[in-house]
């Protein structure tokens, strides 16, 4: 039973970590709390669903959803966030909330307000594992595998490649990186491409896991991902993964064992408020805080 709950928690946590990774990447470079990332999460889920209905190829629809949202991310940073750089962070926050409201309503008008589900004969690459007291559904395995692949790709890109080096330099100090001859515009665009496509993959995964997508599906992740990036020390990708797993586990364990008079989604925030009051810089402080 405990093992089952822990596995549930890890599955939930890995979806959270992908959801939060998009916003974490954006924060690490531009120091913007990017709520509209959750809009890309919902829109990506819809694009994934529609391309699955059209092609009935799951991997291809993941790819289409991620690509489309990645390009959307590049457009968003170019036309909205870069011009607002250097203004008060509240201004870009309100902009991103406006964009989030816009996207949610756009989805409602485009695809209709009702929930939609993936076809019931969804072809998953794995069947599940089922023993006497442990059930792991095929969809869970898929989620774990895709999360692992994407996070590994991200880790490889950031630590082993040249653009990763440029990314790390820009995350430390955008101005100095620019002065050192790094093409910051390319780095920021690359960063948004990754961030938004990660959000899309998380949206598609949630769509498969809970078997529905809806125009409002981005609302809870929008706030929860903020909680996660804060706990992870704002813009620290490794911290965000750990924080996401932690919140996934706390939610499932408290929900499953102790039972709590408040709903599951508020547990994450109570944890965040308590942790922030004790450690005001989050759990995983970046070593290279420039300001």
């Amino acid at each position: 039973m405990l093992l089952q709950q822990i596995i549930n928690g890890i599955v939930v946590g890995s979806v959270y970590s992908l959801t939060a990774m998009g916003a974490t990447l954006v924060y690490s470079i531009l120091r913007i709390l990017d709520i509209s990332n959750a809009g890309a999460y919902a829109l990506g889920a819809y694009i994934g669903l529609f391309s699955y209905i059209a092609t009935s190829n799951l991997l291809l629809s993941f790819f289409i959803g991620m690509l489309a949202m990645g390009i959307w991310g590049i457009l968003v940073q170019k036309f909205l966030y870069l011009p607002l750089l250097g203004k008060s962070p509240l201004i870009s926050l309100i902009t991103s909330i406006g964009l989030f409201i816009f996207l949610g309503d756009f989805i409602r008008l485009w695809a209709g307000p009702q929930m939609k589900a993936f076809p019931s004969d969804l072809k998953l690459p794995f069947s599940g594992i089922k023993t006497e007291n442990l059930t792991i559904v095929g969809a869970w395995l898929l989620v774990l595998l895709i999360t692992a692949v994407l996070l590994f790709t991200l880790w490889y890109l950031i630590t082993k490649t040249k653009i990763g080096l440029a990314w790390r330099a820009t995350a430390q100090d955008l101005e100095i990186a620019k002065a050192m001859g790094i093409n910051v515009n390319v780095v920021v665009a690359f960063n948004f491409f990754l961030g938004y496509s990660f959000a899309a993959s998380a949206g598609i995964m949630i769509g498969i896991l809970y078997n529905y997508v809806s125009p409002t599906m981005g609302e809870v992740p929008a706030y929860k991902m903020l909680a996660i990036i804060v706990l992870g020390g704002l813009g620290n990708p490794v911290g965000a993964v750990v924080a996401a797993m932690l919140i996934g586990l706390i939610e499932t364990l408290i929900g499953g064992y102790i039972g709590f008079f408040l709903p599951r989604d508020s547990i994450a925030f109570i944890a965040v408020i308590l942790i922030l009051l004790i450690k005001p810089q989050g759990l995983f402080v970046r070593k290279n805080i420039s300001s």
Binding site: R31, L33, F79, L80, P83, L84, K87, S88, P89, L90, I91, S92, L93, I94, T95, I97, G98, L99, F100, I101, F102, L103, G104, D105, F106, L109, Y223, L226, A227, V230, L234, F261, L262, P263, D265, S266, F269, I270, V272, I273, L276, L277, P280, Q281, G282
Partner: protein, 304 residues
């Protein structure tokens, strides 16, 4: 009647936008959970008048006090948790407060609370009465804020907003002013909540959710935070937008989102902020007419 209802709604949002402006505009502290205090005021007044028979005129200041008291706790937290971390903490507080309203039976849980009508000196308040009360309170708050802006207190708060470190170095007690700003802002939000509860006669947790906080903050920011005219204009502009676009009912939220994005993108100071295009134009117009008058009078003097 319809116009009166819209006017009361806009009036309540003007009070809210002015109150959040004390915290974000004057002292520069991000707060994304202001609706929580709006809700605390509303629930406090509903429970005080409904269960304990407190008269409305006494419940109004009391609910403001309760809201301000909880706001003090947030103010204390703001000394420790800063900037983006503070923004997230306030979002969290909003969620927790709404969850408590929604799940604790004392607050009516998911059924909400019905609020008994308000009596002032034995006369039952009608919509017109609420409109007058709201306008009276707005004028009172504006008068108070004008006084505040011109006082040492206002200058100190501006100093903290511009540069906390510099303000501290010239001996401004940052902690004190920050906490006072939080108390004032949340207490005024409590007043708005009290009026809202009695005028709606029914409240539920949804009315005070995160989206409401965003609406309030957007009003202050879109109008131009840090000024008094800004939040008022912002509340009127965004408060009337849903009514004006009623013909485009289907697209209301789409238009609302687009309005937020476009205003912030092209006019980050807010529509009537200190250096906004509109405000500069207005100032210029007045200055030009003044200049022309001066030149004319000067020319007359020269001729005579």
């Amino acid at each position: 009647m319809y116009e009166v209802v819209v006017a009361i709604n806009v009036g309540i949002f003007i009070i809210l936008a002015l109150s959040v402006n004390i915290i974000t505009g004057y002292v520069g502290q991000p707060t994304l959970g202001h609706a929580a205090f709006f809700g605390i005021g509303a629930y406090a007044s509903a429970i005080l008048t409904g269960r304990y028979g407190v008269p409305f005129l006494l419940a109004l200041p009391l609910s403001s006090l309760i809201s301000g008291f909880i706001g003090t706790l947030l103010g204390l937290a703001s000394l420790r948790v800063r900037d983006d971390f503070l923004a997230i903490t306030t979002i969290g507080i909003n969620f927790v407060v709404v969850a408590i309203f929604q799940y604790v039976p004392y607050f009516g849980a998911s059924f909400g609370l019905s609020v008994c009508p308000a009596y002032i000196f034995g006369i039952k308040m009608n919509y017109i009465g609420y409109l007058y009360l709201t306008i009276f309170l707005i004028l009172l708050i504006i008068f108070f804020l004008k006084k505040l802006e011109r006082s040492w207190f206002g200058l100190a708060m501006g100093g903290i907003r511009n540069d906390e470190g510099a303000a501290a170095s010239i001996g401004i007690d940052i902690k004190k002013y920050k906490i006072i700003a939080f108390i004032l802002g949340t207490a005024i939000a409590g007043i708005a909540g009290c009026i809202y509860a009695h005028y709606m006669t029914f409240i539920s947790s949804v009315d005070f959710a995160f989206l409401t906080s965003i609406t309030i903050l957007s009003m202050a920011m879109v109008g131009g935070s840090g000024t008094i005219r800004g939040p008022i204009i912002g509340a009127i502009f965004l408060g009337l937008a849903p009514e004006v676009f009623r013909f485009a009912m289907e697209y209301r939220m789409l238009i609302y989102g687009a309005l937020l994005v476009l205003t912030m993108r092209f006019q980050p100071e807010g529509l009537l902020g200190e250096r906004s295009y509109l405000w500069m134009t207005i100032k210029k117009l007045f200055r030009e007419t003044k200049d022309i008058k001066e030149i004319e009078s000067g020319a007359k003097d020269g001729n005579s």
